[in-house]
Symmetry: C2
DNA sequence: ATGCGTGCAAATAGTTTGCATTCAC
DNA sequence: GTGAATGCAAACTATTTGCACGCAT
């Protein structure tokens, strides 16, 4: 298969590393490196937003229309990536799951209940406490997620008009 | 309507307060206090587990079979309770949403990725940091949720056999 | 008496699966 | 060449909605 990613203007050292990790992962499990899997990884990497399977599919339809990627492949690949910890899913509110690349450094989320905008943050103190709590309760911690819900600055301002 | 809750052996001062809050809430919004709404609140209150709409419906079918409560009513009531912040939902993994009564004091969750068991905990330090973070980022905080995923003690022991 | 709430069934949304074909290895 | 991956459509599951009737106010 031709490696189409050589054409990506967005290609970076970081992305290359990610791609290599993905290829290694696939090889290790006797899975195949397909162009669909590659463009899904790439689209997740180049998205600033948290994507739903649906919205990711739309992005792919537009950006790689010639591939005509099916929604089932999107679901299958997201599950694969999630199982292998390369992406993380976030579910909240009425809406379904949203996915993001886990390779970017860890962070938690502030979610606006008005406009659904997601703001990321990291707090070392919280990270540390989480580990401590899991230890104390005899849990072997694998992952965690934290969301703070509220009204963002912009929406607060809008409301005051 | 007759207030069937007078027959609940589980009835407590705490539950009474909750029920009053619920009635007040309904009145304020010109909504009606029905027996379905009451037994849903009661079943949430008397459950030690986090319930899915499905499992709550089963509980109701068994405990109040004569009412023959429809699943749609369960969904509608849970949404109502969630909107008014009386219950909180938790979604994770492949499974759907689980609900719990928010009136019980606040806590976060440790979720076992093997057996799905949920353990609750509270940590004042984390609570405090969350408020601080929201403030710093201009968010008007309404709520938050935090989950730590891992393998619980029991499942770790099982694995070592 | 009024109109909200209910159960039911149908509709919708989100996700998964079976299958024939294609493609990476 | 072989078996895994894909697209498609059908199947499923979870959730929502329309409607006629019942009940709380």
């Amino acid at each position: 298969m031709s490696d189409i990613s050589t054409n990506f203007s967005e290609r970076t050292v970081e992305y290359n590393k990610l791609l290599e990790d993905f290829k290694k992962l696939l090889k290790k499990n006797n899975l195949k490196f397909t162009i669909q899997r590659e463009v899904i990884l790439e689209s997740l990497y180049n998205s600033n937003e948290h994507l739903t399977p649906e919205s990711l599919h739309q992005v792919l339809q537009k950006k790689y229309s010639e591939l005509n990627i099916g929604i089932a492949t999107v679901y299958r690949t997201l599950s694969l990536l999630e199982d292998s910890k390369m992406v993380t899913s976030l579910s909240f509110g009425a809406q379904g799951k949203k996915y993001e690349l886990g390779a970017k450094n860890h962070h938690d989320h502030l979610i606006c209940t008005r406009c659904s905008k997601i703001t990321e943050f990291v707090d070392e103190q919280i990270e540390a406490r989480q580990h401590k709590i899991a230890d104390e309760l005899g849990f072997k911690m694998q992952d965690h997620s934290m969301q703070i819900y509220g009204i963002c600055k912009e929406c607060q301002e809008k409301e005051n008009k």
